[in-house]
């Protein structure tokens, strides 16, 4: 699925089993990667640099509902039994702020932004699909060299989901819960005894595996791993009927549901900020006190911002919350196909969980599709 990336989906060696992640983490570190994985911070699973297995959230689960996220202590030995963390890979592929260039007097100085070698441990199938979506955006018709450098510096270690969250719908979007492509390594965590099956998806992935203790997977391991993904697929918290969505969603331009959802929408931008595929940004120009040095930088912006559609001297094109919400949902689920050939949504559920008022894209879509404009909300 990924274009331009160096990673593919062919299994480069047979599936193996590792007993511990410690040698894997050490091997990645010696290969020069900062290993970033799930950790518990501020009562949430956050992606942060880890130094050993000890930093991973053993026995921690999450409960995700519209507008609500809580950790749940299970107390077992499982390290990855939770769904999407608020941090997607976007923070690494497209950082929130980046400098583009600097001018000293009339001279343009190139600013070469960092592309740190990072191994992302615990990437979900939906995240891999989201990276493929971003690849189409940033490496498609107008390739972005900075994105390419950052993307190539990322080593992706997927962990197949065993416990989808209450807002997940990757099955509807055809992106998960099992990682099939776009990874360097894909792990499935198994219990009693605690172990991981490991599949390599790239040459450099295979090299890392070759350098750590492992044994061939036996039939029992393979069946257990398949079972994890099979059960996970039956546990989706949400569902979307995408059939014909490219037609019926844009056609619902005048649905009464838009007014209804706009009454609940804060235009706060949280949905777009947490969305792993939303890529919109703005540029900001600043000068220093002397006026000698000028700098242009890029930062995340959102179609929910009022000034996002501001034109010089004119009122914003999309000045109502209704117009902004309609733009977002329609682009993400329908017109994205026209632009990039796929859906813009990978079903990770982040926008649902992290919307302060709990607006649920799956519920909005089904109300719009039914044409009822009906709501479960009492306003």
């Amino acid at each position: 699925m990924s274009v331009g990336g160096s990673v593919g989906g062919n299994a480069l060696m047979d599936t193996v089993v590792i007993e511990s992640l410690e040698p894997l983490i050490a091997a990645l570190q010696s290969a020069g990667y900062a290993v970033v994985g799930p950790t518990v911070k501020d009562a949430a699973v956050r992606m942060a640099e880890i130094s050993s297995v000890e930093d991973l959230p053993a026995g921690v689960g999450d409960v995700q509902r519209p507008g609500n996220y809580r950790l749940a202590e299970r107390g077992d030995e499982m390290l990855f039994d939770f769904a999407a963390s608020p941090d997607s890979a976007k923070r690494f592929t497209q950082p929130p702020r980046q400098r583009l260039f600097r001018m000293r007097g009339q001279t343009i100085e190139e600013v070469r932004e960092k592309a740190p070698r990072v191994a992302l441990l615990g990437v979900r199938a939906c995240d891999l699909a989201a990276i493929a979506v971003q690849d189409r955006v940033f490496l498609g018709r107008h390739p972005d060299p900075t994105y390419r450098r950052r993307r190539e510096a990322l080593f992706l270690i997927a962990v197949n989901c065993a416990v989808p969250g209450g807002t997940c719908f990757c099955v509807s979007m055809g992106t998960g819960p099992k990682a099939t492509t776009g990874f360097d390594l894909a792990l499935t965590e198994l219990a009693s005894p605690h172990r991981f099956t490991v599949e390599s998806g790239s040459e450099r992935g295979a090299q890392i595996v070759a350098a750590i203790p492992h044994r061939p997977a036996d039939q029992g391991d393979l069946t257990a791993a398949e079972e994890v993904s099979r059960i996970a697929a039956t546990r989706m918290g949400r569902h979307v009927d995408t059939e014909g969505i490219q037609q019926w969603l844009p056609a619902a331009h005048d649905s009464p549901r838009w007014t209804d959802v706009a009454s609940r929408c804060l235009s706060c931008t949280n949905c777009t900020m947490v969305c792993p595929t939303c890529f919109c940004s703005t540029v900001e120009d600043i000068t220093d006190l002397t006026g000698e040095v000028t700098e242009r930088s890029e930062r995340w912006d959102s179609c929910f911002s009022l000034d996002f559609t501001e034109l010089s001297g004119q009122p914003p094109v999309r000045s109502s919350a209704l117009a902004r919400y309609r733009q977002w949902l329609t682009h993400k689920f329908a017109t994205w196909y026209d632009q990039f050939g796929t859906s813009g949504c990978v079903g990770c559920g982040r926008c649902i969980t992290w919307c302060p008022t709990g607006i649920d894209v799956t519920e909005e879509l089904s109300a719009i599709r039914d044409g009822t404009g009906e709501t479960s909300c009492i306003r």
Partner: protein
């Protein structure tokens, strides 16, 4: 960078009205940048920092504080007359400040409770922002203002460009900074979704909800936020209180504290 001749540097003045001095202190707090700033502008009038008073006129006046007395209502006209550009700094100057809570009550009654001889107190019924008294060129929000934004505004005025001071919500900054959303993950009430950015989402970075120091964002839906805040357990009097702080008289916050009195079923 070379220091410009004193005569050729733009002259800046800093004025104080009804306020706590916190925003002026933000300027003094620019320790690292103060020397470069002084190289570019002549700080001609700044009583908080120096008793030396350079005479007007001034190219840029920073005004802190709100108008609460008849004398100040006169004095701000003088400031406007001697200033080429006038920028208000902070919630008092921009929205009337915490002292504008008097607008919702009877100031004479307050005076009689607080002072032994209330007849000595000459004060106006309302605390008004500077813009209600004289034309203002730019309003910098915050209680207190953010140092980075203050330097950006001065720099922008020096370069004759629009300051990069976005009017979107605190949530944008919160996510850029990589904070966890305390509202969603902890159930902590937060005014971030209706508050203008500028502080860098400071409070959520320390696991606290936003207090609304920077006043309303460019687009707000407080009714929707209030519905959520009620779910989190806030009572109606509490809802009134959270919006009535440093920016109580800003129209959107005023409506937010009034529109949602009473449970859902009673409105419709």
């Amino acid at each position: 960078m070379g220091t410009r001749e004193s005569g050729s540097r733009p002259r800046m003045a800093v004025w104080k009205f009804a306020s706590c001095d916190g925003c002026q202190l933000t300027l003094l707090d620019c320790e690292d940048e103060l020397l470069s700033l002084a190289a570019e502008v002549e700080i001609a009038y700044f009583l908080e920092a120096s008793s030396a008073v350079g005479p007007g006129p001034y190219d840029l006046s920073l005004v802190e504080g709100s108008i609460t007395t008849p004398e100040d209502a006169e004095r701000i006209r003088h400031v406007r007359r001697v200033s080429k550009r006038l920028v208000t700094i902070g919630a008092c100057a921009t929205a009337g400040g915490i002292q504008a809570l008097r607008d919702f009550a009877d100031v004479k009654e307050f005076a009689s409770v607080v002072y032994a001889r209330p007849e000595y107190i000459a004060t106006l019924d309302k605390s008004t922002p500077i813009s209600a008294n004289v034309p203002v060129d730019f309003e910098l929000r915050g209680c207190p203002i953010d140092k980075r934004q203050l330097l950006e505004v001065i720099t922008a005025f020096l370069a004759c460009r629009r300051p990069v001071v976005p009017s979107h919500s605190v949530c944008v900054e919160c996510k850029l900074r990589g904070n966890i959303c305390v509202l969603v993950a902890h159930g902590t009430p937060c005014l971030g979704p209706v508050t203008q950015a500028g502080c860098g989402a400071l409070c959520p970075a320390f696991n606290r909800g936003c207090y609304g120091c920077f006043g309303p964002a460019d687009t707000t839906n407080s009714r929707a936020l209030n519905t959520k805040l009620r779910v989190l357990g806030m009572s109606d009097p509490e809802l009134v209180r959270v919006y009535r702080t440093f920016n109580a008289t800003e129209e959107q916050f005023m409506r937010a504290s009034e529109e949602d009195q009473g449970p859902e079923e009673d409105r419709a």
